[in-house]
């Protein structure tokens, strides 16, 4: 007779994520999901730089892309639900781990010299909180509509329509990033996102148990390159759009 107890997948998974290592792995996996979104989000937004199609107008490509997303609810809501789940699990478990970590050292050292920690690693909770708040603002800014006017920009920007009757994403971006304040805000928050991603990228392989003498340095270099690519892509949007001539709202 087998001594095997009955298999309960829910019990196994709940026990696993209840443990220290399981919680860390959940934070890593949800981080990977959000990493995927950061790449997709940037690729989508970079279409703001695509030239007008023949017989079309500037900004048509990103407006058409926006229209495509809105008219494909399976894709739009599939992504949104996955992301909301990932964000809540990531924050919830990171918070739980951070609280336990603080409790594990009730009395602090009078003198502590770190040898390998990086600033990126040290500020993870702070960069995470700032990025979380920024994402909320970003959603109000470009998706839900700002409840109050901020630096001359109101929820009117969601009403702009282009010649095809689609939402004019291009004009919305030009009006927003015509304001230096918005460019500064998006730059600072993106830099914090990048700092968060630096430590996340360096950590994810280790946490998922993938550490190899030869592959790990390559994976870390690729992580840096990926973060650099996100930096260049994301930050190019406010800066380039700001350099366009001013546009009337």
């Amino acid at each position: 007779m087998s001594t095997q107890t009955s298999f309960n997948p829910f019990r196994l998974v709940l026990d696993f994520f209840g443990s220290s290592i399981g919680a860390k792995i959940l934070v890593a996996l949800t981080g990977v999901i959000m990493w995927g979104f950061v790449i997709g989000h940037m690729a989508g937004n970079l279409q703001v730089f695509l030239p007008a199609p023949p017989d079309g107008y500037w900004g048509q490509q990103i407006n058409d892309y926006g229209h495509f997303l809105k008219s494909t609810p399976a894709l739009l809501w599939g992504t949104r639900i996955t992301l909301i789940g990932a964000v809540f699990l990531h924050i919830g478990f990171a918070f739980r781990l951070t609280m336990k970590n603080k409790a594990a050292r009730p009395s602090r050292y009078a003198m502590k010299r770190s040898q390998k920690s990086t600033v990126f690693g040290k500020i993870m909770p702070v960069s995470g909180i700032v990025v979380g708040l920024f994402i909320l603002f970003h959603l109000f800014h470009f998706t839900i509509g700002l409840p109050v006017e901020v630096m001359g920009v109101s929820n009117d920007i969601l009403q702009y329509q282009d010649q095809a009757g689609h939402h004019d994403v291009y004009k919305m971006l030009r009006v927003s990033f015509g304001q230096v304040g918005f460019v500064a805000l998006y730059t600072i928050c993106n830099l914090l996102l990048l700092m968060h991603l630096v430590h996340g990228t360096q950590s994810v392989w280790q946490t998922l148990g993938l550490n190899h003498k030869s592959w790990t340095p390559i994976a870390r270099t690729l992580g840096w390159l990926l973060v650099a690519a996100i930096a260049a892509g994301n930050l190019s949007i406010p800066f380039v759009v700001m350099s366009y001539p001013p546009i009337a709202p």
């Binding site: 443990s19 390998k116 993938l210």
Partner: protein, 253 residues
């Protein structure tokens, strides 16, 4: 190197007992030879305290040759002091200069309560080992050592992990007071050996279960542990620990 004599100022954590509030006391350490070990320097300071009718500074030590894992001390903000790959007992005073001020603190972690001055209770590590850090060897004739073939590369990985002396510097150095380098070393040591296979899953599950109960923190990949480990255990063992635990937790019977 010629012997030097130096005068130092020590700021030492003094704490009467587990429940007392501790604080720093300042002592002068005079005429210290550069050839002394750090613990010998403390012995000299204690001689002076005893002669003056004062309570000597309590600190842990045993073999004084870097293999027992008893000595500790966070010296100027670094567990086991400023030298790489050495324990406090093997740290020489020639690493310091005349006139230096040296701050000496105990390991600080909820799981390692201070018993007195610089002595901490590290029995949480013993309880983690009791939970699974062993192989069960039943009675019978001992098999010949060469009867169980082990590839050299695997034996080396096991040995690198097995050099852990359980001193707790990893916990002391970790910003989160996590014990994952220690537990990783113990799990890795057996994982790479055939003798470790029968208890491979139960070992990691029980050791992590105990580690979580003891109130250690969780690794956030700063790698301070690796930097301060006197045996230079690599953080590779933490990745192995994560992998072993996941495998065991999701496929346990």
């Amino acid at each position: 190197m010629a012997e030097r004599k130096m005068n130092l100022t020590l700021k030492v954590w003094r704490q009467k007992n587990k429940n007392a509030r501790g604080d720093f006391e300042t002592y002068a350490a005079k005429d210290i030879s550069s050839d002394m070990s750090f613990l010998e320097m403390l012995d000299v300071v204690n001689e002076g305290l005893i002669e003056g009718g004062k309570e000597p500074i309590a600190f842990d030590h045993d073999c004084r040759e870097g293999i027992c894992g008893m000595c500790s001390l966070v010296i100027n903000g670094q567990p086991h002091g400023p030298d790489d790959g050495t324990t406090t007992c093997q740290l020489h005073m020639r690493k310091f200069s005349d006139g230096d001020t040296i701050v000496i603190e105990p390991w600080r972690a909820k799981a390692f309560p201070v018993l007195k001055d610089l002595v901490t209770d590290r029995s949480a590590f013993d309880r983690i080992i009791q939970a699974g850090g062993y192989v069960s060897v039943n009675t019978g004739g001992a098999p010949d050592a060469n009867a169980v073939p082990i590839p050299k590369a695997e034996a080396d990985l096991a040995f690198d992990a097995a050099t852990c002396i359980g001193c707790g510097a990893c916990v002391a150095a970790c910003p989160n007071a996590a014990a994952m380098l220690f537990v990783g070393a113990k799990v890795s040591q057996f994982k790479h050996l055939p003798q470790g296979q029968p208890e491979r899953k139960s070992r990691v599950l029980n050791m992590i279960g105990r580690m979580d109960q003891e109130g250690f923190g969780n690794c956030t990949n700063h790698y301070e542990c690796e930097a301060s480990c006197p045996k230079e255990i690599p953080v590779r063992v933490i990745a192995e620990l994560n992998r072993e635990y996941t495998r065991a937790a999701l496929t346990k019977r």
